[in-house]
Amino acid sequence: MPTLSPDIDDFLTHHTRSMLVTLRADGSPTVHPMLALWRDGALWFNTYQKSAKTQNIQRDPRVCCLVLGGVDELAPPAVIVHGAAELMAPGTLVPDAPLGAPVVRPTGVSGGMVRKVEDRVATAKRIMFRVVPARAELIV
């Protein structure tokens, strides 16, 4: 894994809005708006076990991801991450944020919603996957 610049690490720590690109069965790209959490040097995502995203990653793990600031127009600053997605074992939860690090949560996402997702991960209805950056760049 390449060493990321402090600017990129800081941006990923403080932003969760992302657009993930996976490859469909015919090899064409598809964009998934996602919530991405930066933990332990990887972007962490969750999705339904039976989702198209899961199937795409199982078929071809190559992905890229645009992590954005703001809540409206897509615009820099942003970070682009390229890498391979790794589906985690059923029941695996996203690692806790380091002590003292900000816990970033989009507006309107309640603790109840987080617990519901965790329950669905525990029952393997949802699954976590992570992307360790093979390369990353900050767009300003």
Binding site: V21, P29, V31, P33, D72
Partner: protein
Amino acid sequence: MTSSEIADFLRTRHTVALATLQPDGAPDIAIVPCRYEGETLFLTVSPNISPNISPNISPNISPNISPNIRPDIRPDIRPDNRICCGVEVCPAYYEIRGVSLHGRATPTQDGELRVDVEHTTSFDFGKIRERP
């Protein structure tokens, strides 16, 4: 979203997340200026591209991206012009709305990229909340 809601939404957008394919088939992504006109999405590219480009040879063109968005990246559609455009707003969880357009990028005589849409998906979390 209904088709008219999708059109209304796209008319308010000025940028898209453009997913393309690299020569080895791996995905790439960039932020690209756009305009939605007459039911068609156009991706704005640098004006320094020759206006004499023939659409018939369009797959061989690597367009520049508008300098105010991404001066250092030129999405390369030469090997494969299949693309996906993602557009989304997320002021709050139940206000997330977005559209994904799958299709092909075709350069126009004006140096823009026209998105020839083959498939559209959309979501509006406000409608999820309204479900009984």
